[in-house]
């Protein structure tokens, strides 16, 4: 018996909503969406946590410019509050080093992290997922009973094909989908909404490709002023 599994549910007892930001492909804006979402929810007065579960490519600390903080130890570990967000990431333990882990080890590390982290009272916990429906996605679904998914895609055929696969898996497993977000839109027309209509999940909206974004990374105030964040803010209101 793995006793860790019995404590994980209790760790989320006081968290009202848990949203995993996911999407089949890498580089489509999951981390940016998760980070900006956490910022925007905090700005609206919600108590918000952000958990970066992309062990091989953690990015949220880079996007939000978080440095020099570390969890406090108190009957477990308590994520530090940065920018008003309770922030947890493998980077506290891995530093700037690459994390060469095999699938089963990623699972084990996720279980361990979920078992030792004390979130306390939160309105929202945003989870930044690694790409795909591999071990981490299945683990989150297995271990966090109340999780909802927010699926990010682009209009590219390549991203859309994978998003459909993920939606299919979630549907089969009966996992709620808070909505689908189209990111990095380049063209006037987009078929994303239509293409995904058969899944009967809320289409949250489209965000254009934003050329000013790169310069705003690492600077939360600047980030909040980008077109990306302004658009996402409208979408967040639909989500709450």
């Amino acid at each position: 018996m793995d006793p860790r599994l019995n404590i994980i549910d209790k760790r989320f007892e006081n968290v009202k909503r848990i949203i995993a930001v996911s999407g089949g492909k890498g580089g489509i804006g999951k981390s940016l969406t998760a980070s900006a979402l956490a910022l925007l929810l905090t700005k609206q007065g919600f108590r918000t946590g952000l958990l970066d579960l992309d062990f091989c490519g953690p990015s949220d600390h880079v996007i939000l410019g978080i440095e020099g903080v570390f969890p406090e130890e108190d009957k477990g570990i308590i994520p530090p509050e940065v920018l008003g967000i309770r922030f947890m990431s493998i980077t506290y333990f891995a530093g700037y080093n690459p994390v060469p882990l095999r699938g089963s080890e990623v699972s084990n590390a996720i279980i361990e992290l979920l078992a030792i982290t004390r979130w306390n009272e939160l309105d929202f916990l945003i989870i930044d997922m690694p790409p795909g429906t591999g071990d981490p996605a299945l683990d989150i679904i297995r271990l966090i009973k109340r999780v909802e998914f927010l699926i990010v895609t682009t209009q590219s055929r390549v991203a859309l094909a994978v998003a459909k696969k993920e939606l299919q898996v979630l549907k089969e497993l009966g996992i709620p989908v808070a909505g689908v977000l189209e990111n990095m839109r380049l063209k006037e027309q987009s078929a994303v909404k239509e293409e995904l209509s058969c899944f009967e999940v809320p289409f949250l909206g489209s965000i254009l490709f934003d050329y000013s974004l790169e310069d705003a990374l690492g600077d939360p105030l600047k980030l909040l002023k980008t077109d990306f964040a302004v658009e996402l803010e409208k979408i967040v209101k639909a989500l709450c």
Binding site: G76, V99, I116
Partner: protein, 137 residues
């Protein structure tokens, strides 16, 4: 693993099993903890003392036995085997503490002593598990 989280998770698990198996009295709980977890027994016992009152079934400290499972690390590249204990002494405190919290980060801070690869398997001595729970109905 954090000692406090370990203590809590053991108590919750024993409680759940007691309900499942309709146990009224717990006579023995055997816990095995991998060496990589670097559990400090004093801290663990202190945590357990504090967590025991949360238990829905009476649990006695003396009936919880914890055994440290020695480690075997196996290199996936050259098949060399070694253990955490021998290598751990050379790790800076911060790195060894990171491994205590998330044992998998051993792959970041340790290398196969023979070929230098980070691609090794923690064949033994990683996990935390309850070996058995004994009780009376």
């Amino acid at each position: 693993m954090h000692e406090w989280a370990l203590a809590e998770s053991i108590v919750f698990t024993v409680n759940e099993e007691a309900v499942k198996e309709k146990l009224k009295d717990i006579t023995m709980v055997k816990v095995k903890v991998g060496e990589l977890q670097q559990i400090e027994l004093d801290i663990f016992k202190f945590a357990l003392e504090n967590v025991l009152p949360l238990s829905s079934i009476p649990l006695n400290m003396a009936r919880i036995d914890i055994e440290i499972d020695e480690s075997t690390l196996k290199c996936n590249v050259c098949r060399n085997e070694w253990n955490f204990r021998d290598a751990a002494g050379k790790l800076p405190e911060e790195e060894s503490e990171a491994i205590h919290f998330i044992p998998e980060v051993a792959h970041i801070y340790m290398r196969c002593p023979r070929c230098g690869s980070p691609d090794f398997e923690i064949a033994k001595g990683r996990g935390v598990w309850i070996d058995y729970i004994e009780g009376e109905r």
